[in-house]
């Protein structure tokens, strides 16, 4: 290990690693896989990585000799590079597979791809796929650890973790806060994972959006459902905006972008309904002028959006580190 008395960041990481825990499951597929102490441990560890990431010397050897494979069937700039950086800073060999230019494009199935890649013995597989359940399917066919980096409209658990980390750093806690998740909840894996983790950590959650973009019986998720931003944002501590996919803007689910922005886009006026000191979040990439006004998104006094990106690397380092703890002893 790299513990060094001269480096408080590294010492903090080692102290937390000595105190905790291997990841509770073989794979990280769902935010619901974590209970409150486990999630808190991960956040503590991530917090320590934040300090490390702000130093010039960021590299550890926790994953030395391990192979991390990024398998992104859907394009993603920030999540893929975030996992890549996380892996590299932990000392892993990182391979980015691009299925678009590989044999998947030649008709190979997900399982065949998984079996093929598995033969190369990756220790950690990070997967993003357009189909709900794809990460779970892959996890049944490989010997390494699978991290779900977004499966269809189902889950994106590391996003929930980095969001919780951003909230905790801004407020000092997650428990007891009111979080309003706004916009296209129906198609959002970010929303599903966040609802699960925020509940685990003791926040109360509201879902706000037009009825056409709200899942059936969402009120049974233990949230309150609002179709009006005014009531949905009233007194909220955190306003988490979701991306509206371009193909869903024109006519199918909402009549137009301008109508959507008028009623569900976040601007100063709507934000003024939230609690004093409320923070604004967005998983990115943003559609400025559709779901969020630039004036709000770019205001460092209220926006946590840049923090979220920074926290992404730390949160993923925490997840990889704790999954790697399960690898120790395995050759």
């Amino acid at each position: 290990m790299t513990a060094s008395a001269h480096d408080p960041a590294r010492a903090a990481i080692d102290a937390i690693r000595a105190r905790v825990f291997a990841f509770p499951k073989r794979h990280f597929l769902s935010a619901g896989d974590l209970n409150a102490p486990q999630a808190t441990d991960l956040l503590d560890l991530a917090e320590a990585f934040v300090a490390l990431n702000r130093q010039t010397s960021k590299t550890l050897d926790i994953l030395k000799g391990r192979t991390l494979m990024n398998l992104f069937f859907e394009n993603s700039t920030r999540t893929q590079s975030s996992f890549e950086l996380a892996g590299k800073r932990l000392g892993a060999d990182v391979v980015n597979m691009n299925p678009k230019t590989s044999s998947v494009a030649k008709g190979e199935t997900l399982i065949d791809t998984a079996v093929t890649l598995n033969a190369m013995r990756p220790d950690l597989l990070v997967i993003r796929h357009a189909s709900s359940g794809a990460a779970s399917l892959l996890s049944q066919k490989v010997s390494g650890h699978v991290v779900n980096a977004g499966d269809g409209q189902h889950e994106h658990p590391t996003q929930a973790l980095l969001d919780a980390l951003s909230i905790r750093r801004a407020f000092g806690r997650v428990s007891g806060l009111t979080v309003a998740i706004c916009g296209d909840v129906l198609h959002s894996r970010v929303a599903r994972s966040n609802v699960a983790l925020l509940h685990t950590l003791g926040a109360s959650v509201r879902l706000v959006g037009p009825p056409t973009l709200m899942p059936a019986q969402a009120e049974r998720w233990g949230v309150t459902v609002h179709h009006d931003m005014k009531s949905g944002l009233a007194g909220a501590d955190v306003v988490m905006m979701l991306r509206l996919q371009l193909e869903r803007m024109q006519g199918a689910f909402v009549p137009s972008t301008r109508e959507y922005f008028r009623f569900y886009g976040l601007d100063r006026e709507k934000l003024s309904r939230a609690a004093p000191g409320a923070k604004v979040m967005h998983p990115g990439p943003m559609n400025r002028g559709v779901e969020i006004d630039s004036d709000v998104a770019d205001d460092p006094a209220v926006s946590l959006i840049q923090d979220q990106v920074e926290m992404g690397v730390a949160a993923r380092m925490a997840v990889l580190t704790s999954l790697a703890a399960r690898l120790e002893g395995k050759q």
Binding site: T109, L110, I111, H129, S131, S132, G133, A134, S136, L137, D151, G152, Q153, H154, E155, L186, R189, R192, P215, A216, Q217, A218, R220, W221
Partner: protein
């Protein structure tokens, strides 16, 4: 049917005889000879039997008419690797199914008398089950131009249907119903509004929402059924609702029946046995079309079968090899094989004390026989000697790998059921006998 040599007369004695036509459920026996039922003993014993007769002591097991399955897909012609007529017939025999109707959604489609003839010629060489044919209602199952319903009837097709594809154009539907009436032909139609169902892979509701699966409202079924009933009322045709699955559509069906329309309905054994939670961790082997519904719907279906609102139970046998199933959920092929599990799965409703044995047997024997005007489906002198002998209490763990079907996509894999088919008789010949 078969050209195998004339079979030895058989006497089944000491059975629990269930015959839905006469409403008899009690001790008895049956003698079959020359491919027909020669004598039936209810609550009595046969007198002295000739030495030529082979006696089968049933040991109190259920003896019922062989099952008639109105909805079976095979891959013949076009996808023989999934299932052939012969492999489906073997699976049928193992499941106590003595007659089944193949669906026209093959490649090429069965939408022409020559293809009906082709299937029936192939079927003639197959001994283990009687294979009947459903012809397409419209050419290429496209829902545009009417198929040659009259000529296909002459060639031997037993009903017409566009199988899993609804006839969307109401004018075409109206004409098919009107035209088929001239031949007194039965039209089976899947009620599903294509726009509401578009892109869906699971039933819309809380569960699909949590799973992030694109969903179909059960309303898609009700809306199309409401239209079909209205057209049926106007035309006076004969309609079989192909696989009703939802409580709200049952209300529509009930109204239509009370009006005296010539309407009947089938339900698949899958929708009686599973609900939407069975797709669990994206279990594609439970991905069906129509998709599995909520538990409330399943209970309503069982209730409707018990009170006779639903007439027929089908296996909805739909082979899909592993490569079509082992995919992410929304990409996986829907459907399940079911010929071999139909009877034991159906018996669950008897063991659970939901529906009387004779009523369950009726839904897979006499009811489909009467819909198609077949002489089978009953135990009466002169009826075809198609029988199933089943130990209804014998425990069974379904092992998909051991199914005789070429495709092993069974959602019942690993399920504990009761009911072991001991012997299946078609045309007076034993076509299946349980091992050991």
């Amino acid at each position: 049917m078969s050209k195998s040599p004339a079979s030895q007369p058989l006497a089944f004695v000491n059975a629990r005889l269930v015959d839905p036509e006469s409403g008899y459920d009690g001790p008895g026996g049956v003698i079959v000879s020359e491919g027909v039922i020669a004598d039936v003993a209810k609550g009595r014993e046969f007198g002295k039997l000739s030495k030529a007769v082979r006696v089968v002591d049933c040991g109190g097991a259920l003896l019922a008419p062989g099952l008639i399955d109105l909805r079976v897909r095979t891959g013949e012609p076009g996808a023989e690797t999934k299932e052939t007529l012969a492999s489906a017939a073997k699976a049928a025999a193992a499941g106590g199914v003595t007659s089944f109707v193949v669906q026209p959604d093959t490649a090429p489609a069965i939408d022409d008398p020559s293809v009906v003839d082709f299937i029936l010629r192939r079927a003639r060489d197959i001994d283990s089950a009687r294979i009947l044919v459903a012809g397409a209602a419209t050419r290429g199952l496209k829902g545009e131009q009417m198929a040659e319903i009259g000529l296909m009837r002459e060639a031997g097709c037993v009903y017409v249907t566009d199988a899993g594809k609804p006839i969307v154009d109401s004018k075409v539907m109206q004409r098919v119903l009107t035209y088929a009436k001239g031949f007194d032909a039965l039209l089976a139609h899947r009620p599903m509004d294509p726009w509401l169902a578009k892109g869906g892979a699971a039933t819309g509701g809380e569960f699909a929402g949590r799973m992030g699966l694109p969903s179909i409202s059960p309303m898609a079924e009700r809306i199309m059924l409401e239209r079909d009933v209205a057209l049926l009322e106007a035309t006076g045709g004969k309609l079989l609702v192909d696989q009703i699955t939802s409580a709200q559509a049952l209300e529509t069906l009930d109204r239509a029946k009370k009006k005296g329309l010539r309407i009947s309905a089938s339900v698949s054994i899958n929708h009686l046995s599973f609900n939407e939670l069975d797709i669990g961790d994206y279990r594609t082997f439970a991905k069906l079309n129509p998709p599995l519904r909520g538990e409330d719907d399943r209970q309503a279906l069982i209730e409707a079968l018990a009170n006779g609102l639903i007439d027929v139970v089908v296996s909805s046998h739909s082979p899909a090899p592993a490569e079509d199933k082992r995919l992410p959920f929304d990409e996986a092929a829907p459907g399940a094989v079911g010929l071999e599990t139909l009877l034991p799965a159906l018996l669950s409703l008897y063991h659970d004390e939901r529906i009387a044995l004779i009523d369950l047997i009726r839904a897979v024997t006499l009811a489909p026989a009467e819909l198609l005007g077949l002489r089978g489906g009953r135990i009466a002198p002169g009826a075809p000697a198609d029988l199933v002998l089943c130990d209804i209490d014998a425990p069974l763990i379904v092992d998909a790998a051991r199914l005789l079907s070429k495709s092993k996509n069974s959602p019942f894999d690993g399920r504990r059921l009761q009911g072991q088919v001991l012997m299946t008789v078609v045309d007076g010949r034993v076509v299946h006998r349980a091992e050991g």
